[in-house]
Amino acid sequence: MKLKTLSSIPSSGWPTIPEQALTPGCGKMASLDRVKVLVLGDSGVGKSSLVHLLCQNQVLGNPSWTVGCSVDVRVHDYKEGTPEEKTYYIELWDVGGSVGSASSVKSTRAVFYNSVNGIILVHDLTNKKSSQNLYRWSLEALNRDLVPTGVLVTNGDYDREQFADNQIPLLVIGTKLDQIHEAKRHEVLTRTAFLAEDFNAEEINLDCTNPRYLAAGSSNAVKLSRFFDKRFLYLFTSPQPPHKALNPGDSV
């Protein structure tokens, strides 16, 4: 069993492997320069399919239940086409579960909400409740950062002022667009436009089983690039300016 080999690593006192050694060819990237984007939403809305599509440009063949958190990496050309173009790794953290989980699960999830650079909120266009739950999801993630004492605001009511102060860029994505009848589309899209406005965020509506929604040059792809180009994502804690993260010419 594969796990047997891993358990031989002592649980306390991990050997401190410098980041450079783990990623040969990317030695110039300091270990503090991480771009971390959370992907939140109810179970079953299609977060895993979305993350797979964003990172590997392929449709996920066998989606299964996400336990805990699954991470994937997207290579993004920051400010593509300009002289300041740089390539970054964007970590997409797909946190599983529901807003109504037991408080022990919520406390465990909270460990993933540290030092977040951006949040993608995912909802299912065919399920109104998943859209309403986005307010609770965003509060859960943002409170973790805004209140350093770690006390979660228990009143789940959406408070516009909390979002007015928020500097972390948000993006709202609606999935399963293909399952909405043509006739109802206008009504659904109006509703989601209000939702995105509340979060002061852009919105994208797509179907995760069809890569053409994010084809290069489409309006969705442009919105996505705009989101990933937001300056705040790259405000690192280290005082050094963001430097060239990796050389595409390096062989791995």
Binding site: S12, W14, L22, G44, G68, Y89, S107, K128, N133, P248
Partner: protein
């Protein structure tokens, strides 16, 4: 005249139960989902209402409320309706919603759901053969035939749940069993979890970069699929894609580890909360109850015979209330754990079926705990069922379930401290 008054009282209480079931469905079970098919909510509430009415009738029987002939009438009517629901309606709708989920069969939904229902009826009927539950002089579609089979299924379920509950309840609430969890333990596990995530991320960065360079060079990564694919990949794969497969395997192992660490951390948080809860007043009260009920359960396991019937009847009342509450809570937890937006309808209907069968067999079994003079009404209404069989069957399954739960919990308890001990 009195019959009319009694009937109106019964109907009012049924409407109340229906409303409670409706609210429970809306607020608790389906609070994260959208109710698109209202028929599901109606069926659930109706099953709940008629099940609760049966318990209500037992209590009326003992307190001698209402006229005895009208009680008998309502018993019969209630039983007919519940059997109709449990044997005809709910299984048919379960089949219908399962078929609706499968895209291929969507066109002839009704036909396939009828087929499914007929299959269900066949197995349901066959269920009665190995059990000595009926004397052969009854007709095919009589109440006794149906209720005997429903009873067998329900009694088995009850015994399994009671056996597990009898062992789990003291284990959960008694502070003697609570492992000591400190904040340092939790922090250490969280640190391990985050380190594992970091390792996964660095490997995925390598993979992403490899894929990008391969794409720019014009190579394509073919995942080896099937027998011939694997043979081909041995000889003709590019070095880049070989690397990818290797790293992917390492990532899979790390992801499995991260899932385990996540579950362990959640478990520690839950234990910590239980410890804190046990220090509160409510916690101490339940702790005392835990000791009390564990003694009662041990008594049940060893079946001490000389206990006054009337005192055990009070316990029957407590058991009814707590088992309804316990069942609803367990059903809710189950539902949250296994349902998704597609299967929520089917699962709720399955839960309604289990709930109905559970309550019907409670009535069968409660007969034993009731004082002699009240047993007659149940015997009259339910006909000549072999009640003793049900009691013996319940005891056997209860014992089996309790013993296997003890074994299971012992193993789980032993395994856990070793994992959390810091070296």
């Amino acid at each position: 005249m009195s019959f009319l008054i009694d009937s109106s009282i019964m109907i009012t209480s049924q409407i109340l139960f229906f409303g409670f079931g409706w609210l429970f469905f809306m607020r608790q079970l389906f609070k994260d989902y959208e109710v698109r098919q209202y028929v599901v909510q109606v069926i659930f509430s109706v099953t709940f209402a008629f099940s609760c009415t049966m318990f209500e009738l037992i209590i009326f029987e003992i307190l001698k409320v209402l006229n005895s002939s009208s009680r008998y009438f309502h018993w019969k009517m209630n039983l007919c309706v519940i059997l109709l629901i449990l044997v005809f309606m709910v299984p048919f709708y379960i089949g219908y919603f399962i078929v609706s989920n499968i895209r291929l069969l969507h066109r002839q939904r009704l036909l396939f759901s009828c087929l499914l229902w007929l299959t269900f009826m066949y197995f349901f009927w066959k269920l009665g053969d190995p059990f000595p539950i009926l004397s052969p002089k009854h007709g095919i579609l009589s109440i006794e035939q149906l209720i005997s089979r429903v009873g067998v299924i329900g009694v088995t379920l009850m015994a399994l749940l009671s056996g597990f509950g009898a062992v789990n309840c003291p284990y959960t609430y008694m502070s003697y069993f609570l492992r000591n969890v400190t904040d340092a333990d939790i922090l250490a596990l969280e640190r391990r979890l985050l380190q594992t995530m970091d390792m996964i991320i660095s490997k995925k960065k390598r993979m992403a970069m490899t894929r990008r360079t391969m794409f720019q060079k014009g190579e394509v990564h073919n995942k080896p699929s099937g027998f011939w694919g694997m043979i081909k990949s041995v000889t003709t794969s590019a070095p880049g894609s070989e690397n990818l497969t290797l790293i992917q395997q390492e990532v899979d192992a790390l992801e499995e580890l991260s899932r385990q660490l996540f579950l362990e951390t959640a478990d520690l948080y839950a234990t910590k909360e239980r410890i804190e809860y046990s220090k509160t007043f409510k916690g101490k009260y339940f702790n005392f109850l835990g000791y009390f009920f564990s003694i009662y359960c041990v008594w049940k396991i060893f079946m001490v015979k000389f206990w006054s019937q009337h005192i055990s009847f009070i316990l029957v009342g407590i058991i009814i209330v707590t088992s309804i509450r316990g069942l609803l809570i367990t059903l809710t937890k189950f539902f949250y754990a296994i349902s998704s937006s597609k299967s929520s309808n089917v699962i709720v209907l399955l839960l309604a079926q289990i709930m109905g069968m559970y309550f019907v067999s409670s009535v069968l079994l409660i007969r034993m705990s009731m004082p002699l003079e009240y047993r007659t009404i149940i015997t009259e209404v339910l006909g000549e069922l072999q009640f003793n069989f049900y009691h013996r069957w319940f005891d056997v399954i209860f014992l089996v379930s309790a013993l296997s739960s003890i074994l299971f919990l012992y193993l789980a308890h032993k395994q856990a401290p070793e994992k959390h001990m810091a070296p």
